[in-house]
């Protein structure tokens, strides 16, 4: 009998593969949601022409300002009148038009009129003021953000890492000059400088990327220099020097790999800031020139139409926020895994 009870306990205690607490624990230990959202952004960016249901830059004016698919008709009550002047169109409706909605309508009646049609599944997130599909524009916007972030990261990263390696390795005057330059760059009011440059050089993709590179390289340089200072005292570096390895070889093969963990973490956390900055510049009208769909400029487009057409500004902004949020969460997780020493950063 006792054995029987024991077996019951065993059966009841068998762990289920998917349980609510289990899922919760998994979400807390692994960055599942951020990684999912980030892959969504990357796939959107890479495969935009195949995924986007419509052309992002060509709109149909007859179908402008359509709401997202889930919102219904917006209606209002209007009083039926014989004739309606332009100035009272909001309150009254002409008998002839009222008859089209309700054949029994008579002068003086109150009648429900559709002032904005419901959304349709043709445009899942609705359309903007030029009748362009919002979903397609958000998808193409991911592409712009990704390209800007990628180029900035590669160019700014290479410059920053190179200068950081040199500053850390040579020390002395080289270090002094490079690090003072870093200090100066970090104390520039960047958005302001970006605006001025855009006025002077004109609005273009390369100006944006240049500005963002200026922003990002000092951060890499500072981090790498710190790493080099500790790495260059290691025995294997001294050994390489003794055995006659050239300086570039030591830096590239013996020092640089030691900084990679830190670099990955810094890069992940900085990408979010780069995407935010790009969107700020686009919002201020100094970003990627129109009509290219950039998230920031899309929010700017929808800003004045918030009262009637909330979706135009909401969705691109949401896209920026979720992307940056995922990058931050993923970066935090990566930092804790790869480089716990950086935990105090930021």
């Amino acid at each position: 009998m006792a054995n029987q009870d024991f077996a019951d306990v065993l059966v009841a205690g068998r762990p289920r593969l998917i349980s609510l607490p289990g899922v919760w624990r998994a979400i807390r230990t692994w960055p599942i949601i951020p990684v999912f959202l980030l892959s969504l952004v990357v796939i959107s960016g890479v495969a935009a022409p195949w995924i986007a249901p419509h052309d992002p830059d060509r709109g149909i004016l007859q179908e402008r300002n359509l709401p997202p698919f889930w919102s219904g008709d917006e209606t209002t009550f209007k009083t039926v009148a014989e004739t309606v002047g332009l100035e009272v169109q909001g309150k009254f409706i002409a008998l002839r038009l009222a008859r089209q909605i309700d054949p029994q309508a008579a002068v003086g009646d109150s009648i429900e009129v559709v002032i904005r049609p419901a959304g349709s599944t043709k445009y899942l997130l609705g359309t903007d003021q030029l009748g362009r599909d919002l979903l397609s524009r958000v998808i193409y916007g991911a592409r712009i953000s990704l390209i800007v972030a990628l180029i900035t990261l590669v160019v700014g990263g290479v410059i920053g890492v190179t200068l950081g390696l040199m500053a850390g390795w040579y020390g002395g005057w080289t270090d002094e000059i490079i690090m003072r330059l870093v200090d100066v760059m970090l104390s520039l009011p960047l958005i302001l400088v970006a605006l001025v440059l855009v006025v002077a050089l004109g609005q273009s993709f390369s100006v944006i990327v240049t500005v963002l590179c200026l922003f990002i390289w000092p951060r890499f340089a500072r981090q790498v220099r710190g790493e080099v200072l500790t790495l260059k005292t290691k025995d294997y570096v001294a050994l390489a020097k003794v055995s006659g390895a050239s300086t570039p070889r030591i830096l590239l093969i013996h020092i640089f790999p030691g900084t990679i963990n830190t670099l990955i973490v810094v890069a992940t956390l900085q990408v979010g800031i780069v995407i935010l900055l790009e969107s700020v510049l686009s919002f201020l009208g100094a970003g990627v020139p129109p009509p290219t769909a950039a998230w920031g400029s899309m929010v700017a487009d929808g800003r004045d139409r918030l009262a009637g057409f909330w979706w135009i500004a909401t969705f691109p902004g949401l896209a920026i926020m979720l992307t940056v949020m995922s990058l931050n969460l993923f970066g935090d997780w990566l930092r804790d895994k790869l480089d716990p020493r950086l935990r105090q950063m930021r």
Binding site: V184, L188, L195, L284, A286, R343
Partner: protein, 305 residues
């Protein structure tokens, strides 16, 4: 210490100089002002005479010298939009920006510090989760979008506060929240992680073992040490708040320097733009200089890095 001060001051000067060079290049790249000042009946002699009067016949480095001399006197020329000296317009707008920056700064501390302490002390609870949520949104949401959404909800939808302008005293609430949220988030994270580190240390355990009350441990022993990184950061934000005002003032039509700069940019009002950028840069550089110096006094380790 003296060496540190001198070096730090030197960097500030260089930063201002670099910005001035950028502005100078901008004003020259924008085109020859003579094309706008002279009419169709002018002769080549008029052109040359005007060039001499404006100093345009001199080589660029001399022109830059003249530009710096004027800038030091606060002369950036007339605004083409308002027909008044650019510097006057800038000075007029300064209080609005400073007011907004002060309000956001206060807000970022009032929200960030207590919530950060609570999140650390009550680690793993709903309060902690809430605090981290606030921080995450603050650090991830683009400020312009956050402002627009707040405006949509609290002004257009609920009608609690005016959507823009500075006439109503309640008008500062939304811009201050928008601008302050990002820094509140940063403060919160800094305080939380510093508190967690400190609370884990030996002397806190000793204090607890001695029977010091929990409240006293947190306030007297832990907070004093945890607040240092947040204080530094608070200083750094003071400068960054000035730049952040560019975005927020544009969204809420707040009549400060940030809006002035963006307006001047699109009106191609170079005189005003130059003046704004210089004033902004000076504020920014002065703020970060002061903070670095203050921090070097508080924490001597800084001077040697």
């Amino acid at each position: 210490m003296q060496k540190f001060l001198v070096r730090r001051f030197f960097i500030s000067i260089i930063t201002v100089l670099i910005v001035s060079v950028i502005i100078f290049i901008m004003s020259r790249a924008a085109g020859d002002p003579r094309a706008m000042l002279l009419d169709d009946y002018s002769t080549m002699e008029d052109w040359d005479r005007m060039g001499a009067a404006l100093g345009l016949d001199k080589p660029y480095y001399q022109q830059y010298g003249i530009f710096i001399k004027d800038a030091l006197k606060g002369e950036f020329g007339q605004s083409i939009k308002q027909g008044r000296p650019a510097m006057h317009i800038v000075i007029e707008r300064l209080p609005a920006t400073l007011q907004l920056a002060a309000a956001s700064f206060a807000l970022s501390l009032l929200i960030g510090v207590p919530l950060g302490i609570l999140a650390a002390v009550k680690r793993g609870t709903m309060i902690d989760l809430f605090g981290r949520g606030v921080a995450l949104v603050g650090q991830s949401a683009p400020p312009f979008w956050l402002g627009i959404m707040l405006m949509f909800f609290f002004s257009v939808h609920l009608g609690w506060v005016p959507p823009f302008g500075r006439d109503d005293p309640k008008g500062i609430i939304l811009p201050a929240i928008t601008l302050g949220w990002f820094y509140a988030a940063a403060n919160l994270r800094l305080i939380r992680s510093a508190m967690l580190d400190v609370l884990d240390s030996e002397y806190i355990k000793l204090a607890r073992a001695k029977g010091v009350s929990s409240q006293s441990v947190i306030v007297k022993h832990a907070l004093r040490n945890a607040i240092i990184p947040a204080l530094t950061f608070a200083g750094v934000t003071l400068g960054a708040l000035v730049t952040g005002s560019l975005v927020v003032e544009t969204v809420f039509a707040w009549p400060g320097l940030g809006k002035l700069a963006v307006d001047a940019l699109f009106a191609l009002d170079y005189a005003v733009l130059q003046a704004v950028v210089i004033v902004f840069t000076l504020l920014y550089v002065a703020a970060s200089f002061t903070v670095d110096v203050l921090y070097a006094f508080i924490d001597p380790r800084i001077r040697y890095t």
